[in-house]
Symmetry: C3
């Protein structure tokens, strides 16, 4: 208040108010002393010269400091971050490089028949290099070290993202089919996908266009064969696939998802097909259902219907998949299967949904930062039928109870109890194995 009054008075006093500058009061004082004769004309001139020179020098020094400061506080051209793995990107968005991976270490104990050997395994051990180049181009190479040679190549593609919400890919990647297959193995609710993954479309080398919007996605692609398919005198197999998803509700805590997938495949030179399925456990390596090699198969066609929802900590999803197999000799075959699952986060998190599939969990409070992570209980029923006409692949249904603990967004511990309710037909007709399985996982 005092200052303001002083300034007001000063303003009134000054006949010709001038903008103050640093040290202007000395100029004013000298002017006054010159006006009242205390300072002579010659002295005045000398003082003014010195004053001007000093002010000029001060301004120059200030400019130098400000230039250096501006330079110093500028954010770096390239930013590096890590929260598991590595992410490097240029400030202008022109380039980005990410390095990451995952390890899933499992152990299983089995009960009932058939005999399955208790044991352990590294289920997946992957590294990937992924990035963006020259704004509009993307790339990825991901390898799984648990596989042999070329069959370990997972994503290996190039993409163009220069159109809004549209991605065009060329290389090796997943066919657009089935919600549980599109969802990364890092993020599926149970250690293994449900029995209808007997009809998974897998990865093939091809080209695909995907439109991704908040409330819908549409993908369509043309594919050759798998990375590990060998050449030779016969043509490799090829296929085409499309998937459309619609999410009329899609926000952070509420999702309604509907999806439809179509997948056609010609078998090429191998001229056969085989469908099989493990009892939702991978360690024993036993296919509880198996059509064996079905001869003279020219092509087969899969259709899948998907429904899923998230309501706060509750989530549910279900899929029905049917596969029609065309044979040159013998009647056509139809196999199908479905599953339904529900999960609940005891700690209140919501399942993450984006671009027509589920993503990772971010705990409300991490272990190591005062929290207990995220805890999820889940239940699943699944069934698949590989019996038709002369093919006796077997039919099975199973119930799975799961508990997930996510101490941090990069970690997960899972315990699953799988009860095969009944196997009907096939090599294990009438048997009812049970599985207790544990997993520790890091992934980023």
């Amino acid at each position: 208040m005092r200052l303001k009054t002083t300034m007001l008075l000063a303003g009134l006093t000054m006949a010709t108010a001038m903008p103050a500058y640093a040290g202007s009061e000395i100029k004013t004082l000298i002017d006054m002393l010159h006006a009242n004769g205390t300072v002579s004309d010659a002295q005045y001139q000398r003082l003014m010269a010195e004053l001007n020179q000093n002010q000029q020098q001060a301004a120059e020094e200030k400019a130098v400091v400000e230039k250096k400061l501006a330079e110093a506080v500028k954010p770096p051209e390239v930013s590096v971050s890590t929260n598991g793995g590595l992410k490097v990107k240029t400030r202008d968005g022109k380039f980005e490089t990410r390095l990451g991976g995952r390890v899933q270490a499992d152990a299983a104990a089995y009960g009932g028949d058939p005999e399955m050997g208790d044991g352990t395994e590294i289920r997946r051990a992957r590294l990937y290099l992924q990035g963006r180049m020259y704004y509009d181009w993307g790339y990825k190479l991901q390898y799984d070290f648990v596989d042999d040679g070329a069959s370990g190549i997972k994503d290996a593609y190039l993409s163009y993202n220069g159109f809004d919400n549209l991605e065009i890919k060329a290389g090796n990647f997943k066919d657009p089919f089935s919600l549980q297959e599109q969802t990364s193995s890092k993020f599926v609710t149970f250690t293994e996908r449900a029995l209808p993954s007997a009809f998974a479309a897998g990865r093939h080398i091809g080209v695909m266009a995907t439109a991704q919007h908040q409330h819908w996605t549409l993908a369509g692609g043309l594919f050759g064969d798998t990375v590990s398919s060998e050449g030779g005198a016969d043509d490799e197999g090829w296929g085409a696939g499309s998937r459309v998803t619609w999410a009329p509700i899609n926000n952070k805590t509420a999702v309604v998802h509907l999806g439809l997938g179509l997948n056609y495949r010609e078998t090429g030179g191998i001229d056969s097909a085989r469908f099989r399925q493990q009892p939702e456990t991978h360690i024993a390596g036993i296919n509880i259902l198996d059509t064996g090699t079905i001869a003279t198969v020219n092509d087969f066609f899969k259709t899948g219907a998907e429904i899923a929802t998230v309501q706060g900590p509750f989530s549910a999803q279900a899929e029905y998949i049917t596969t029609s197999v065309k044979r040159d000799s013998g009647s056509d075959l139809d196999f199908d299967g479905w599953y339904a699952q529900a999960g609940y986060f005891l700690t209140g998190e919501s399942r993450n949904y984006k671009n027509g599939k589920f993503g990772g969990i971010t705990p409300k409070a991490n272990v190591g930062e005062g929290g207990i992570g995220a805890w999820e209980l889940a239940l699943r029923y699944s069934t698949v039928d590989l019996n038709d006409a002369d093919i006796d692949g077997g039919e099975a249904d199973s119930m799975t109870l799961g508990l997930n603990w996510y101490p941090t967004p990069t970690l997960r511990f899972t315990a699953n109890y799988v009860d095969l309710l009944d196997v009907d037909g096939g090599a294990y007709d009438g048997e009812e194995p049970s599985v207790f399985q544990l997993r520790s996982q890091w992934a980023f």
Copy 2:
């Protein structure tokens, strides 16, 4: 102007001109007021003390700011950059680490005889870690995931670069032989190297010294066997190789290159040799030419002559390679082959040449930055003859037409049409297959 006049007058007025410093005019004024008695001696002393103290303090503050500023604008000790992959280096040049890779996704359709199966493949999927340590030492590890186990190990070496223009390597790397083999698969003009790559020397474990100057290179090495060669009771094979190149003209848009390569190899315990060649396509996996296993081969010797040129957007290269095989039983054998190719950049770029081999293309204007990338048309004739004495490996010649599109320095799309003009001898005698092949590639 006014300022200058004022300063001039001031200069004249001042009997003893003193250098001005920040705020010196207040000192001058006080001196004047003291001299004319307006300020008393006691007041003068007090003012001077205050003035000195303030000036000292101001100087200290300024020094602190300048020190902090100097620290703040200093470039970081470690610089990180990405334009595809990752490059980290210390400012003093002591350490450098690079991470990169490549993926080539191919598709091919075949015509004519023999039957070759249309299909797709990931041709190469590589990661590498490479760098410099303690100024003078280099290292590299590169792996190709399309191969099985140890055979996927490509470059895996240690190098010493402490001498000017001289590199000494130990580990696994390419023998110094043949221009098209020295040129990385990322940068060769067509999807596959020409037919004489039947005589490629490949990679072996060994030691090599390479002198690299602008107008010439000279490399010589001593090698054991390949990474995947197994031990046992018999000695592994070994070899020696040398390559000299001369580039009397070598600037950004004009190159004349001449080269000569010599490569000797003893077969060791396997005591045999085999030469074979695919019809400039890899997907079908069919060797159109194949000597089969030639028994009782003690050693063979390869000689290669190279010529190449760049004239603005035009480039051409040709090689002739001959292989002499010594047998313990049966006459000695001579096989040979050659190719000639020419390319033209429709968009005006020049092929990049350095250290006796060709490098990558940098488009004049990238896609995504207002350009259309680089476009190159190329034509190649190649032939190889694996018939001699009792060996009926076949002879073939082929014509290849290629179109390359490089949207950015890290990307490439290639379309090749290969016409096998005639196969003479061997398992596919008289057949004339044709190949249409596409590739998408990212590499950095």
Copy 3:
């Protein structure tokens, strides 16, 4: 001195000493001139207003500069470093990511019997990604490209480090057994470990807790089978192991280490065991000792005693390991072996010891920085006996002379001469091969 006197006088002169501030002398002068009537009241008010305004503005500008400066000199949130490989960590210690690897390129020449083929190999070619997440969690994935598929997976685990000096791991890693096995292959004194590595416990999938203190470590774990063990109808093998080490002396140049390891393993479904050993060379791939498959083995138990010391440039270590094999049919078996080795750094370095095992060498002066690196001479005697009851695996003892050159902490060149003194029993009874072996290694 003059200044101090002036200030002292000034101090005495000032009745009411006030703290000086930047430009305070002008205020003092104006006060004086106002007091003696040279400056009028109105002029005084105007001068004070201007002075206040200028000081306020100067203070604001200074605050802005200081804020920017503080921001500019703040160390970055994420630090990146490289001295071979890559290390990225956040300043708060929450995340850390490391990327590294190793390549060992070997050559060997053999003398005496049995016939072993001279040759070369890439002994190890590894990459790893390792790090810390959310303060308390660690992870690692390391792969060796010289192996096929899953068997190349080395460390692949998750760890919790939230307790002081205690680490809990889950995944694939080494059993806690034997000093020479715990010491990384990068850091063992000779190219190959001593003959008793016939009893190495290797890596298994399991869980382990390790307490690590300066003067002792204690580890205990429960393990399943190896990564590459296949499932099926039979249970996989499992085991348990513990190791305690005591280092009553442990400083930079003096160490005394004592250790005891216990390792139990049930064979599971394979119901057999096999112990074998190469003659301290890997290239030829010949097992000079081999029990063959011992049938009906339910379990075996290993005990190992360790002693080691460092005294300045001198180091020595010795181990004795015994293995008791229980058979369902046939008597129990006992195999054992021991080695003792000594090394001396001609250049004065000391062997690095930490957490119950040996680490890498840091030369006193690196090559490329004015030094000659570290030079070490070493000698080893080792023996192992695989003969017992009806099992004729052979017994051998060998003498090894080694020279190590570490030009930098990341590099190593090793020459070893191994003399198998005598093979007694087994397939190579009475033979006495010798080995000359060279290695170049980069590792970080």
